[in-house]
Symmetry: C2
DNA sequence: TATAATTTGTGCGTATGTATA
DNA sequence: TTATACATACGCACAAATTAT
């Protein structure tokens, strides 16, 4: 799984792998991800490397870490995670009055706009969505 | 170049190829891309298929098309195109007062926030930036 | 000014494969 | 299984815009 000769840092390979598995729904929200020790065993990596991967995922909001308990996918996921295909373009703008009405977007919240490879644009309220690039 | 047996529609393969070549700077802004007829010759595709690929790129702002002249990379590119690495997360929010000052962001313009695979976040004014996923 | 060549815009019909009812 | 709908892809013809001769 982790390829030391690929040129990609090991912590990044592990983070990428975990991010993909979270996006695939391997762990339901609230469920515990493998512990640091377990990840060390499964991957053969050191603790520093494993922790660095998890730190990156925490910063991205992909996982939550609770001291003494473990790592989990955020429970009530207030943000929808949109997986952007290669060939997409992501922009942002303020919502139109129509979008404010249909999505019930609060004042001061921008929209995330994903223009797919087919040129079709989808807009999501910025307080409830984020785009994952896998 | 275009592989009919790949399962990916031919127009999408062509669009992806052209998008990558534009991002690589193969055509400087204002320069003319190959005409529809040329792309038909080079790829062996029909005109409908070639035009569909270009339509997708137009919708994404990757190219501009001028009737009777041709297709070009937008001249004065008012938006900065950020290429997002796999493993990144894209969100949006309104700028902080500090960002408004340093970037000179007009009222009502949100920020595009790219959190890299390393967990480091970069924010760009939404009216001057968009994220490409290659 | 006029003409021709090139290029994109638009509309038509046809065929094939795939997903859905 | 059949029928329907949709996406993809091809070919053709003509209109409109641009540029060079």
């Amino acid at each position: 799984m982790i390829d030391p000769a690929s040129g990609v840092p090991a912590w990044r390979q592990l983070a990428d792998d975990l991010r993909r598995r979270v996006a695939a729904g391997e762990w339901s929200p609230g469920a515990r991800l493998p512990s640091e020790s377990r990840l060390m065993q499964e991957t053969g990596l050191g603790r520093t490397t494993v922790r660095r991967a998890i730190a990156a995922l925490r910063a991205q909001g992909v996982v939550e870490v609770q001291h003494g308990w473990g790592t989990r996918v955020p429970q009530a996921r207030e943000v929808e995670r949109i997986v952007a295909e290669p060939g997409s373009v992501v922009t942002t703008r303020m919502p139109t009055p129509a979008e404010r009405a249909t999505f019930d977007v609060p004042d001061g919240v921008p929209m995330l706009v994903v223009i797919g490879p087919d040129g079709i644009a989808d807009a999501y309220p910025g307080d409830r969505a984020q785009v994952d690039i896998l």
